[in-house]
Symmetry: C2
DNA sequence: CGAGTGATTGACTTAGATCAATGACCGTGG
DNA sequence: CCACGGTCATTGATCTAAGTCAATCACTCG
C-alpha cells in the first residue's frame, strides 16, 4: 500500500502478501494500458469495468463538489490498486487522472470476482488489503484531530518510528508529507526547523531521528 | 455503516445488503456479551479472537501514543462491525472501550473465515462493506483538507444532500457533527448561525435546508 | 430538584494559513 | 555547455479564522 507511505506496517508473518495478492494467471489476464500525464482513466458516473492496479507512475483520485472545487481523495502509486469499490457498484464514484505518465493494469470485474469465488485465499488476501487500508485511513483521520502542528508531527513520528523506535524514513518530499499531515508546507518546514532547533529531532537527508522525546 | 452517519449512500440495487451480510446460521453462532459503560472489550496487543458486531450501544476504538495521549479512531454503533482487520492479524491494533452500556456479538475468526471459504457471496458482501468503508473514510479525509469551517460545512452539505439535492438530515447532534467535521462545536454553531443569517441555509429541527448555494 | 448535556453566544489569543521572496538543484533543449 | 523553467526547501511578515475559556439557557432523566 505504497500510497500510504507512512502506513502502519503490515503484520510480519501474516498470511497476507502485499505484493502478490493475485495469482499469476489472473495477473496475466490484466489489460495493460499507458496514460500520459493528465489523461483521464475514468470519470465519476461511468460504468465500472473493474479495478486497476498501478504498474508505474501515479494516479490521482479526485472528486468535484457542486461548486467545482476539486479535491484529492487519494494518490495511488505503483503497486496500489484503485477503485476496489467498483467491484460492488455499477458506476465509479470519483475521477481518476494520471498525475504522471503511468501504466495501469485493468482487471475486469468478472475475472476478479470469479477468481474470488474460485480461490478463497485470493479473496482473503484482497480483504486483508482492504482492512489494512481502513486502518491506515483511520490512523490518518485520527492524525487530523490533533490541532497543533508540532503534536501532529510528533504523532506521525511516533507512529512511524522504525524498529529502533527513533528513526523515521521519509517516503517522499517534505512537501508531500505536509499534504499527508494536512499542513501547509510552510507550516511543516517551520515546525520541523523549530523542533530541530529545540533538539527534539535531528534530520539527515531522507530521515528524521528522534533525539529527545517529549 | 451507521457510525459514519454522513456516509456516501450505498448503491441502490447493488448486491450488497448492509444489514444482513451474514447468513442466519453464522449469525446465530455469534457469542453475545454485555458491556458496561467504560468496560474494555479488547486492548491493543492482545491476541485476536475475531470480529465484533455491535448489537446495541456504542464502542469507541482508541489508541494511545507514546506520550499517553488518547485519540479516538472510531465510534461504532449498532450494526457496525469492528476489528475487521483482526481476521488477518494476530493481535489487535487498538483498544475497544464501551462508550455506553453495550451488547456485542463476537464472531470467532475461524467461523468467519470458514464461512467466507464456503460462501463466496458472504465474502463478497464483507468485501463490499470494507470497500464502502474505505470510500467513506477517504471522503472524510478529503473533508479535512478544507480549512475554512464554512467551506467544510458546505462540502458536507453538498455531499449529503438528499434526493432533492437540498435537504440534509442530521444523524445525531450538532456536537457530534462538529466532531465528525473536525471542528469544535462552538465553531460549528457559529458557522451554521452565520450561514443561516446570510440566508444560505435554513434549519428545522433535525435537518438543514440549502436555500441559496454559493 | 439538581446533575448532566446540548445549544448558543461573547471575548480573547494564537497558531497556522497566506502572500511573498530567495537560493539550491535538476533536467532539457538550443 | 549553459541558460532557463520548474520544483523543493526555507524564511519573513501579516492577518484572520478557529481554538480556548467562559457563561447562560433549555431540557431531560432519575
Amino acid at each position: 500500500m505504497s500510497a500510504e507511505p507512512y502506513a502502519v506496517s503490515a503484520e510480519k508473518g501474516s498470511s497476507m502478501d502485499e505484493t502478490d495478492w493475485l495469482s499469476a494467471n489472473v495477473r496475466a489476464a490484466g489489460i495493460e494500458r499507458s496514460l500520459e500525464r493528465g489523461q483521464v482513466l475514468f470519470r465519476s458516473g461511468q460504468r465500472t469495468v473493474g479495478l486497476y492496479e498501478i504498474v508505474s507512475g501515479r494516479i490521482r483520485l479526485v472528486r468535484f463538489d457542486r461548486s467545482g472545487r476539486e479535491s484529492v481523495l487519494h494518490r495511488a502509486e505503483a503497486g496500489d490498486t484503485i477503485a476496489e469499490a467498483s467491484l460492488f457498484s455499477s458506476t465509479y464514484k470519483c475521477d481518476a487522472i494520471a498525475a504522471t505518465e503511468a501504466r495501469v493494469r485493468l482487471y475486469p470485474k468478472a475475472v476478479i470476482l470469479a477468481e474470488f469465488d474460485r480461490k478463497p485465499k485470493t479473496a482473503r488476501a484482497f480483504m486483508a488489503r482492504l482492512a489494512q487500508q481502513v486502518m491506515n485511513l483511520r490512523t490518518r483521520l485520527e492524525q487530523r484531530n490533533i490541532h497543533s502542528a508540532r503534536d501532529r508531527v510528533r504523532h506521525f513520528l511516533a507512529l512511524n518510528a522504525g524498529v529502533d523506535g527513533r528513526t523515521v524514513a521519509l517516503g517522499g518530499t517534505l512537501k508531500e508529507l505536509a499534504a499527508d499531515l494536512g499542513l501547509t508546507h510552510e507550516a511543516l518546514y517551520r515546525t520541523v526547523a523549530r523542533m530541530e532547533a529545540d533538539g527534539e529531532i535531528k534530520r539527515l537527508d531522507g530521515t528524521i531521528k528522534l533525539v529527545r522525546s517529549v
